[in-house]
């Protein structure tokens, strides 16, 4: 296609670009406002909310980075996301293995039960879950967030993984058995390594979901030292409601890990999302 030759096509392209740039601006400008706003003081924010900071005041960012609170919340978020994802993917992979490659009475019924789990909104279960966790003494304990989160992530993960496990030909399994593999050996040494792309996909989905979870840590953690970033950001906003610039800096810093992760794992995330829609 020689776009330069055809003025009508060029005009069309220009319009398309303008639409994209307009939409892109709607996305980027608020974030940019946050990034730049963090470098201003509140006086500057009221007189000059749109322009570049003058002078640049990095103290909002450096203060937060020097404080222990931000790093602790970041660490809590990482700990919960990583452990929860591990528990969830491990148990989901084992269940999906059984659902995909064993025939037994009640299999479809059990699988449907998991499927129905997709329709249970978190909000429906949060009250009894809270009562249950309190009874088990898991309030102010990271397991109180990790385990329910893993449980609610199971249905979609089991469905995606079962779909994938089914695509691995029976001959592979037959060969493994002939070579003396136990079911567990087949699962561990052959199936899981073959399923690496699917495992990456579901893990990325689970990490993002856990990272963004708010309601559960909000009710489980009354002890501030366990707060995750979303809870922390919300509390920070309440605490420094007069100090807009500082809150902006906090919000921006809390976005950095998510956006960095997105930059690295974009492809897995997209294939996971479109895959889960098809599943």
């Amino acid at each position: 296609m020689t776009s330069t030759a055809n003025p009508a096509l060029r005009a069309r392209r220009l319009v398309l670009h303008l639409v994209c740039i307009a939409v892109g601006a709607v996305i980027v400008v608020p974030v940019l406002f946050g990034v730049l706003g963090g470098f201003k003081d509140n006086g500057q924010l009221s007189t000059n909310p749109l322009g570049l900071p003058d002078p640049w005041a990095p103290s909002n960012y450096t203060d937060i980075l020097a404080s222990e609170v931000f790093w602790r919340q970041l660490g809590n978020s990482v700990l919960i996301a990583v452990t929860g994802t591990f528990i969830m993917v491990a148990s989901a992979a084992m269940a999906a293995f059984v659902f995909a490659r064993f025939a037994f009475r009640g299999r479809e019924l059990l699988f449907t039960l998991f499927g129905v789990g997709l329709m249970f909104p978190f909000a429906v279960a949060i009250l009894p879950l809270f009562v249950l966790l309190r009874g088990l003494g898991l309030l102010d304990n990271p397991l109180g967030v990790i385990l329910p989160q893993a449980a609610f992530g199971l249905p979609i993960t089991v469905i995606i993984l079962r779909q994938f496990f089914r695509t691995i030909p029976g001959e592979v399994e037959e060969a493994a058995i002939l070579d003396g593999c136990s079911p567990f050996g087949f699962f561990w040494r052959i199936l899981l390594p073959m399923a690496r792309p699917a495992l990456a996909t579901v893990s990325v989905l689970a990490l993002v979901t856990s990272w963004n979870n708010f309601m559960l840590p909000l009710v489980v953690f009354t002890d501030q030292s366990w707060w995750t970033l979303p809870v922390g950001v919300q509390a920070f906003q309440g605490q420094y409601s007069d100090d807009t610039a500082r809150v902006l800096a906090y919000v921006v810093l809390s976005m950095v890990p998510a956006l960095g992760f997105y930059a690295v794992a974009e492809r897995q995330l997209i294939s996971g999302l479109s895959g889960s829609v098809k599943g």
């Binding site: 269940a95 059984v98 025939a103 963004n212 708010f214 919000v251």
Partner: protein
């Protein structure tokens, strides 16, 4: 997502009623083997235990608790039958919640999804830098609803916000959209769309790229204009993805919590409150756990009934229409 019963079971052979067919490695599991039961149990137990204990049991408990007047401590003893439910439907706040959900769903289906579809079609064109546009449009999806909400609280904060100064510059006062009961719901919708339209765009784009080029070329050869080709070739082939997106959007709206809780807390005067926010208020702030449970069960039933009906009436076509399925899976 969310259509387990429509997943075609390619091997719906005999369940565990052995004896095994000859030479079936795929059905190997059906072969009576010592310890097979133990293997099955060992592999299923962790997932099943988590799921039953932390997903199914709480929902059973919620439906039980919804029949009691209960503050959440000790065992529920004060049985009130369906009073909590009748109370909910008589409560102006809860009725408002239902209305807000309806408004948000209608807006999502008529504004957000079509816009996402349009952008996906746009990004499917050969356009320089489209991968950068795509990257940017989808980015808000990875930000948490809380972060997004706090950011926009500040963007629209009076005096220091961006919205405020743009509005002043334009000579109006858009800075107050979150304070005005008449506009707050639309403001919430705007922010929800900001975060989620990229997700739907991404799904549409992935599906669009799965449609074989030849189909559109054939249509063009037969004299179809771009609009006709879109209307009669692309759109039907996107059907499954569109229908699933509608589903996700409706279910997501019924459960909307984080965004509203942080943006407005449901205010001013309940004008942006959702069912989940009302439930949270009663359950965790006023300790009327029985009543709050009734609200969560209503939320569940709404999602569940919608899912069942939708699956029966709308999604079923996707397993019947061979062409759409092929287009989707290629």
């Amino acid at each position: 997502m969310t259509r387990p019963s429509t997943v075609p079971d390619t091997r719906r052979g005999g369940p565990a009623t052995d004896p095994p067919g000859p030479g079936t490695a795929r059905r190997r599991g059906a072969r009576p083997r010592p310890g097979r039961r133990r293997v099955l149990a060992a592999f299923l137990t962790p997932a099943l235990a988590l799921f039953l204990l932390l997903v199914i049991a709480p929902i059973v408990v919620a439906s039980y608790a919804s029949l009691y007047k209960w503050n959440g401590f000790g065992l529920p003893e004060n049985f009130v039958g369906l009073d909590n439910y009748t109370r909910a439907f008589g409560d102006p706040t809860f009725r408002g919640d239902l209305w807000h959900a309806l408004v948000l769903i209608v807006l999502s289906l008529t504004v957000q999804l079509p816009a996402a579809l349009g952008l996906a079609m746009l990004l499917n064109q050969p356009l320089r830098g489209r991968s950068i546009y795509r990257l940017i449009f989808f980015a808000p999806y990875v930000l948490s609803e809380v972060t997004t909400a706090v950011l926009f609280n500040l963007v629209f904060s009076p005096n220091r916000g961006l919205g405020d100064s743009i509005a002043r510059w334009l000579g109006s006062d858009a800075g107050t959209i979150f304070a005005d009961p008449d506009t707050v719901l639309y403001a919430v919708f705007m922010i929800v769309s900001w975060k989620y339209f990229g997700l739907y765009m991404m799904l549409f784009l992935a599906a669009r790229q799965g449609i074989p080029k030849e189909l559109n070329e054939a249509a063009t050869t037969d004299g179809a204009g771009p609009w006709q080709a879109f209307r009669h070739v692309t759109l039907p082939l996107l059907g499954p993805t569109i229908r699933i997106s509608v589903f996700l959007s409706v279910i997501g709206t019924i459960q909307l919590f984080d965004m509203v809780w942080v943006l407005t807390g449901g205010g001013p005067i309940h004008a942006s409150e959702t069912m989940a926010v009302t439930m949270f208020q009663y359950g965790f702030r006023r300790f009327e756990v029985g009543y709050a449970s009734a609200i969560s069960i209503i939320m569940f039933l709404l999602s569940f009934v919608f899912a069942l009906v939708y699956q029966r009436v709308v999604l079923r076509r996707d397993t019947e229409g061979a062409i759409t399925n092929q287009g989707d899976n290629r």
